[in-house]
C-alpha cells in the first residue's frame, strides 16, 4: 500500500495544489487571486521533478509511469502559462476599476483547479495497474475538460462545444467501460498483471477480444481517432485557443497511455520468437488498429486541407497526428536489443512529448492575438487573414507559429521530423510498409495546410484594416517561446528524452522477453540503462 502511495506522490502534489488553488482563487485580494497560475505551475513543476526521481510503476510498463507523469506535468506547466487570462478578465478589470469583488462572479478558482484535476487524471492513467483505476483516471481526465470548454469563452459556441463534447464523451466512456467489463468477464480479473498472465497462458478468448475491440474504439474518443473523431473540429473551434491546446494534448496523452496499457495486456510478442518481423498483436486487433490508423490520418489531413479557420485546421491535424501515433502502437515495442528505432511504443511516447510542445507553440501564436469585438470586448482571432504578416509585425509569435507548424509538418531539422522518424523506423521494422507509405503520403498532404500557416505568417504582407492586437498576457507568449526553443534545440540535444522514452517503453510481465524494471527509471535511470551496452542486457535479465 505504501509503495502504491509512494508511486502517487506526484499526483498527490498536484491534487494538493488543486485544493490550494481552489481556495486562493476566491481571495478578495486581486494579487492573491492572480497567483493561481503561478501556484499551479509550481505545483506541476514540483510534481514533474518528483516523478522523474520517483519510483517505477507496478504495472506492465513500469518505466512508462514516471516518464508520462513527467511529460504531462512539464507540458502542463506550459499549458498553465498558456491559459493565462482565459477567464475572469472582465471581472478583474471591473475590480481594478474600483468595483466590489464578488466571489460568485469569479471563475478563476474553478478554472485552474479543473485544469489541474484533468492533469491529475492523465497522470493517474499512467499509474494505473487495474481496469477500474484506468477507467476512473480516464474519466477524471475528461470530466473537467467538458467544463473547461464551456467556461472558456462567453460565447454560445463554447456552450455548444461543451455540450457536444460531453455527450459524445459520455458515449465514448460507455463504450470503453463496456469493453473493460467484457475484458473482466473474459479473464476474471481487473488487475493488469493477472489479465496479462491469463492471456499469456490461455490465449485470448472471444469475449476478451470483443472487450479489447470495444475498449480501443471507446478510447479512440480521447485521442480523437476514427471512428470517434467527429466532435473534434467543433469542440476545438468552440473552446478558447488555450483550452483547445489543452484538449489537443492532455486527453490525447491519457488516451494513448491507456491504449498502450490495454494492448500490453494482450502483448505484442504473442507467441513469437525473438527475431520476429511482423506483428504479434492478435490479427483482429492489428487489423482494427491498421484501419483506424490509415483512416484517421487520411481523414484528418484531407479535411484539414479544406478548412478556412486556423483552429479547425489544427483540430483536424490533431486527428491526423493521432493516426501517425497509431502506427507506433501497431509496431509495438519490437526487439529490445535493436534499440529505440525498433520500438514503436517508445516512438509514440517520444511523439507525445514532441507533439505537446509543437501544439503549445502553434496555439500560443493563436492565443497571443485578439481582436476587439463589436461590443468592445476582446475576441479571439479565427481566420488566416489575422495571421498575415505576423513575422514582420510580431516576430516572436510569428516565428513560433512558423517553426511549430513546419515542425508539425515534419520538416527536418525540426523536432517534428525526429519524432516522426522513429514512427517510420518502427513501422518498417514491424513490417508495416504499406502503412508507412500511407503515412508518408499523408505527411505530404499535411504540407498543404501547414505550409499555409508558414506562408501566411512569414511571407504575406499584413492585411489592410485594423490589425489584431497582442493579447495582454506575457505568459502566453512566454509559453510559445519555450516551445519554440525546445522544438529547435531538442532536435539536436534531445537524446536524453529519446533514451527516457525508450526506457519507458519496456513491457514487463506477460512478455516472453521480460526486462526487469530498473529501481528508479526516468531520465536518470535512462542514462544508467544506456551505460550498459546491449550485450549486457541479457545479463541484467538473468540477474533479476
Amino acid at each position: 500500500m505504501s509503495e502504491k502511495l509512494a508511486l502517487l506522490v506526484p499526483e498527490i502534489i498536484v491534487f494538493l495544489t488543486t485544493c490550494i488553488v481552489m481556495v486562493v482563487g476566491l481571495s478578495p485580494n486581486l494579487a492573491v487571486r492572480r497567483s493561481c497560475g503561478l501556484l499551479s505551475a509550481s505545483g506541476l513543476f514540483i510534481a514533474a521533478i518528483l516523478a522523474i526521481n520517483g519510483p517505477a510503476g507496478d504495472g506492465l510498463l513500469p518505466g512508462l509511469t514516471p516518464y508520462i507523469k513527467a511529460v504531462i506535468a512539464l507540458i502542463g506547466v506550459l499549458l498553465v502559462m498558456l491559459v493565462a487570462g482565459t477567464v475572469d478578465r472582465e471581472e478583474d478589470a471591473r475590480v481594478s476599476r474600483g468595483g466590489v469583488f464578488n466571489a460568485l462572479r469569479t471563475n478563476r478558482a474553478e478554472f485552474y483547479s479543473f485544469i489541474l484535476f484533468s492533469l491529475t487524471g492523465a497522470m493517474l492513467c499512467a499509474s494505473a495497474s487495474d481496469l477500474i483505476w484506468l477507467f476512473l483516471a480516464l474519466e477524471l481526465t475528461s470530466l473537467p475538460t467538458y467544463v473547461l470548454v464551456t467556461m472558456s469563452t462567453r460565447g454560445t459556441r463554447s456552450q455548444e462545444a461543451g455540450v457536444k463534447y460531453f455527450f459524445l464523451g459520455a458515449l465514448g466512456a460507455a463504450v470503453f467501460l463496456y469493453g473493460f467489463a467484457l475484458i473482466y468477464g473474459g479473464t476474471g480479473s481487473t488487475k493488469f498483471v493477472d489479465i496479462a498472465s491469463i492471456i499469456a497462458q490461455q490465449g485470448i478468448n472471444q469475449i476478451t477480444l470483443a472487450g479489447m475491440i470495444l475498449a480501443i474504439i471507446g478510447v479512440s474518443f480521447k485521442i480523437a481517432a476514427v471512428p470517434m473523431h467527429f466532435y473534434t473540429a467543433d469542440v476545438y473551434q468552440g473552446a478558447a485557443s488555450p483550452v483547445t491546446a489543452f484538449l489537443a494534448f492532455v486527453p490525447k496523452t491519457a488516451g494513448f497511455v491507456s491504449l498502450i496499457l490495454l494492448l500490453a495486456l494482450v502483448g505484442w510478442d504473442h507467441g513469437t520468437d525473438k527475431v520476429s518481423v511482423g506483428h504479434t498483436l492478435p490479427s483482429q486487433l492489428r487489423l482494427l488498429l491498421w484501419v483506424m490508423a490509415a483512416l484517421t490520418m487520411t481523414i484528418g489531413n484531407v479535411l484539414a486541407v479544406v478548412q478556412s479557420s486556423p483552429k479547425r485546421v489544427l483540430a483536424y491535424s490533431s486527428i491526423a497526428h493521432s493516426g501517425y501515433m497509431l502506427v507506433g502502437l501497431i509496431a509495438g515495442p519490437g526487439d529490445y536489443g535493436a534499440g529505440f528505432a525498433h520500438n514503436g511504443i517508445a516512438a509514440v511516447l517520444f511523439y507525445l512529448a514532441a507533439y505537446g510542445l509543437m501544439n503549445v507553440g502553434a496555439f500560443a501564436a493563436l492565443a497571443g492575438l485578439e481582436r476587439r469585438g463589436r461590443d468592445g470586448r476582446p475576441v479571439e482571432i479565427d481566420s488566416f487573414d489575422d495571421l498575415r504578416g505576423l513575422c514582420a509585425g510580431r516576430p516572436l509569435l510569428g516565428w513560433t507559429l512558423v517553426v511549430c507548424s513546419l515542425s508539425l509538418l515534419g520538416l527536418p531539422p525540426l523536432l517534428g521530423f525526429f519524432s516522426k522518424l522513429p514512427l517510420f523506423t518502427s513501422g518498417i521494422a514491424s513490417g508495416e510498409i504499406v502503412l508507412v507509405i500511407v503515412m508518408g503520403i499523408n505527411s505530404a498532404i499535411a504540407a498543404f495546410y501547414y505550409l499555409r500557416f508558414a506562408a501566411v505568417a512569414m511571407l504575406e504582407d499584413p492585411s489592410d484594416g485594423p490589425k489584431p492586437l497582442a493579447a495582454p498576457f506575457p505568459a502566453r507568449a512566454m509559453s510559445g517561446l519555450v516551445a519554440l526553443v525546445l522544438v529547435i534545440s531538442l532536435s539536436f540535444f534531445g537524446d536524453a528524452l529519446m533514451k527516457a522514452s525508450r526506457n519507458a517503453a519496456v513491457v514487463e510481465g506477460s512478455g516472453v522477453r521480460a526486462v526487469p524494471a530498473s529501481p528508479s527509471p526516468g531520465h536518470k535511470a535512462g542514462d544508467r540503462h544506456d551505460a550498459a551496452s546491449p550485450a549486457a542486457a541479457p545479463a541484467q535479465r538473468v540477474g533479476a
Binding site: V275, V277, D335, G337, A338, G339, F340, A341, H342, L406, L411, P412, P413, F417, F418, L421, P422, F424, T425, I428, A429, I433, V436, I437, G440, I441, S443, A444, A447, F448, L451, A455, M458, L459, S491, F492, G494, D495, M498, K499, R502, D530, P534
Partner: protein, 580 residues
C-alpha cells in the same frame, strides 16, 4: 573541419543578416559567400587528389545517438566538385541581385545563404538522415525566394514546387529507412551478421543494400526515384520545373538550375547506383528511355516557347536527360560524363539565366516577341549570350560538348547488341539509345540558335515604352546602363572562363572523377550479378556450356568487359589528343 565550416559560415551570416539592419544585408551576404568560397578553395587544396575516390576531410559527431544518427561529413572528388560549383554560384547569386532586389533585402540574402548551406550539406553528408535533412531543407529557402521575389504567378509556382518535391522525398525517406532497418536486423536472413543496431551511415548501408534480393532492390529503386526523379526532373514528373524556373527571381533560377536539380542526379549517383546494383542493371533501359523522352520532349517544347526563360527552363529538362542517360549507361565514360555535365550545365545554364535576368531588369519582359536585335544595343550582353548559348548547345571546344559527348558515348558503349563494339562495356542500352538521344543535340541547337537569332540578331525590337535611342537617360533601367555594367560582367566572366577551361582542358577534372566513378561501376558489375573482368574471361571460356538466357547475358557482358578494362585509358588518351 572545412566541410562543417562550409555549412556553418553561411548559416552564421544568415543569422547576422537577420539581426542587422537591412542596409547591411548585401554587405554581409557578399562577405559570407566569399568567405565560404575561400574556405572552399582551401578545402580543394587540402583534398588529396591522389586518392580522389576515398572520403576525405571527414568529421563526425554524435547526433541523437539513441536513434543511431550521426552528424557525419566527408567528400570524394564528385562531392567536392559539386560543392565547388555551389560555392562558385553563391557569390554570383549575391552579386547579380544588387539591383534586382530592392526591398526585403534581409529576407532575400538571409535565405539565399541558408540555401547555400543546405546545398553544401547535401553534398557533404555521410549520414543518410543528415543528407535527407539538408535535401528537404533546401525547399524552405527556395519556397521563400520564389514566393516572395518571383514574378506574377509566384505563389502557385512556389507551392507546386514545395509539394511536388516534398511528396517525392518522403517516399525516398521510407526507402532509405527500409535499408537502415535491413542493415540493422535483417542481414541475418541472407547469412550475414546483422549490425544489431541502427545506423544511417552511408557506407554501412551501401554494403547492406547491395546484399538485398533483386526484387526488394527493385521496389527500393522505385521508392528512391520518387524523390530523385522529381528533383532532377525526369519525364514525366518534370511539370513543376518550368513554372518554378519562370517565376523564380534570377538568383533563384541560377541556384535551381545550377545546383538544386543536381541534388537529384547526385542522389542517383550516390544512392541509387551503388545501393541497388541489381535493380539498376535491370531497370537501366527504362530509366534511359524516360531520359531520352525527356530529351526529345523537352527539346520540342523549347522550340515552341516564346518566353525566353521558359525556353531555358525546358532546356534544363532536356539537358538533365543527358545526365540521366549517362548515369543509366552504368559505365565509367557515361557516369563520368554525367557528373561533368552536372557541373557544366550549372555553369552554362546558370549563366543563361543570369543573362536573361539582366535583360529582364532592363526591359521587364522575357517574351521573344518583344525583344529582338539586342546585339546593336547591348553588344557585350550579346557576346556573352552567344557564347553561353554555344556552350549550352555543345559546341566543341566549350564545356557542354565534352560532357554531352561522353554521356552519349557511354550510352553507345553500354550495348552489346552488335557484338564487338570498341570499348563496349555491356549493358542494355546501345546504338539506338545513343542515336535517338543524339537527335536531342540537334534539337537543342535548333531551339537555342532560333532563340539567339531572334533575340540577339535581326531587327531591333524593344517592348513598348522603350524607345530606340537615348536609353541611358531613361529612368526605366534604374541605375543600370543600356549595356552590361562592370558588376554584371564581373559576374559572368568567371563562368565564361570556366566554360572555356572545362571545354579545352577537361582532363584533370575527368581524371579526378574517374576513380570515384570506377568504384561505383565496379560495385555494379561485381554485385549486380555480373562477372568482373577476371571471372569474365573464365565465363567466356565456358561459353558453349551455358544454356540459360541469364547466362547468355553473362557471357556477352563478359565478352565486352574484357575490353572494358581499358576504356578509361583510351578515353583519357582521346581527350589528351583533343587538348592539343
Amino acid at each position: 573541419m572545412e566541410l562543417v565550416l562550409l555549412i556553418l559560415v553561411p548559416l552564421a551570416f544568415a543569422i547576422l543578416i537577420a539581426l542587422r539592419p537591412a542596409q547591411e544585408a548585401k554587405f554581409h551576404a557578399v562577405i559570407g559567400t566569399l568567405l565560404a568560397a575561400g574556405i572552399g578553395v582551401n578545402a580543394l587544396g587540402r583534398f588529396d587528389w591522389g586518392t580522389p575516390a576515398t572520403m576525405q576531410l571527414s568529421a563526425a559527431w554524435d547526433w541523437l545517438p539513441t536513434l543511431g544518427l550521426r552528424l557525419s561529413v566527408g567528400v570524394d572528388s564528385v562531392s567536392l566538385m559539386l560543392i565547388a560549383l555551389t560555392l562558385l554560384l553563391g557569390p554570383i547569386c549575391v552579386f547579380c541581385s544588387f539591383t534586382a532586389i530592392q526591398e526585403k533585402e534581409r529576407t532575400y540574402y538571409g535565405w539565399l545563404l541558408v540555401l547555400q548551406a543546405a546545398m553544401t550539406g547535401v553534398f557533404a553528408s555521410r549520414d543518410i538522415v543528415l543528407f535527407y535533412t539538408c535535401f528537404e531543407f533546401t525547399l524552405v529557402p527556395m519556397y521563400v525566394l520564389i514566393s516572395l521575389f518571383g514574378s506574377t504567378n509566384r505563389k502557385a509556382a512556389a507551392t507546386k514546387f514545395f509539394l511536388y518535391t516534398f511528396t517525392g522525398s518522403v517516399i525516398t525517406l521510407a526507402g532509405l529507412v527500409y535499408i537502415a532497418w535491413f542493415n540493422a536486423t535483417q542481414l541475418d536472413s541472407i547469412g550475414i551478421q546483422s549490425a544489431g543496431r541502427w545506423t544511417f551511415d552511408i557506407a554501412a548501408l551501401e554494403a547492406a543494400a547491395q546484399a538485398m534480393p533483386a526484387n526488394v532492390q527493385g521496389w527500393l529503386l522505385l521508392a528512391m526515384m520518387c524523390g530523385f526523379a522529381i528533383k532532377i526532373p525526369l519525364f514525366p514528373v518534370h511539370t513543376w520545373l518550368p513554372l518554378a524556373h519562370t517565376e523564380a527571381p534570377t538568383a533563384g533560377s541560377v541556384v535551381l538550375a545550377g545546383v538544386l536539380l543536381k541534388l537529384g542526379t547526385y542522389g542517383m549517383f550516390r544512392f541509387v547506383l551503388p545501393f541497388l546494383p541489381a535493380a539498376v542493371l535491370e531497370y537501366a533501359p527504362i530509366i534511359a528511355t524516360l531520359s531520352i523522352i525527356g530529351i526529345l520532349y523537352g527539346g520540342l517544347i523549347c522550340w515552341v516557347q516564346t518566353d525566353v526563360k521558359k525556353l531555358v527552363a525546358y532546356s534544363s529538362v532536356a539537358h538533365l536527360g543527358f545526365c540521366i542517360l549517362g548515369l543509366a549507361a552504368l559505365n565509367t565514360v557515361g557516369i563520368t560524363g554525367s557528373i561533368l555535365y552536372m557541373i557544366n550545365h550549372g555553369l552554362s545554364t546558370g549563366a543563361l539565366f543570369l543573362l536573361i535576368g539582366m535583360v529582364y531588369e532592363r526591359y521587364h519582359t522575357r517574351s521573344m516577341k518583344e525583344l529582338g536585335g539586342l546585339a546593336c544595343k547591348m553588344p557585350v550582353w550579346a557576346t556573352f549570350m552567344v557564347f553561353f548559348t554555344m556552350a549550352s548547345v555543345g559546341l566543341p571546344g566549350l564545356n557542354g560538348f565534352i560532357s554531352e559527348f561522353m554521356c552519349l558515348m557511354g550510352a553507345f558503349q553500354a550495348g552489346d547488341k552488335w557484338g564487338s563494339l570498341p570499348g563496349g562495356t555491356g549493358g542494355d542500352l546501345g546504338f539506338w539509345y545513343a542515336l535517338i538521344a543524339g537527335l536531342g543535340m540537334i534539337i537543342a541547337a535548333m531551339y537555342l540558335l532560333y532563340m539567339v537569332g531572334r533575340v540577339v540578331w535581326g531587327p531591333l525590337v524593344l517592348p513598348a515604352g522603350h524607345d530606340d535611342h537615348g536609353h541611358d537617360g531613361g529612368g526605366s533601367h534604374g541605375p543600370l546602363p543600356t549595356d552590361l555594367c562592370a558588376r554584371e560582367i564581373f559576374v559572368l566572366l568567371p563562368l565564361a572562363v570556366l566554360c572555356i577551361a572545362l571545354g579545352l582542358f577537361p582532363k584533370p577534372v575527368i581524371k579526378a572523377l574517374e576513380p570515384a566513378v570506377n568504384n561505383v561501376v565496379e560495385t555494379i558489375n561485381a554485385t549486380g550479378k555480373r562477372p568482373d573482368a577476371a571471372s569474365g574471361v573464365k565465363a567466356m571460356n565456358d561459353l558453349p556450356g551455358l544454356p540459360s538466357s541469364a547466362d547468355v547475358r553473362h557471357v556477352s557482358d563478359a565478352d565486352v568487359s574484357v575490353a572494358s578494362s581499358s576504356p578509361t585509358v583510351q578515353w583519357g588518351g582521346a581527350l589528351s589528343g583533343g587538348d592539343k
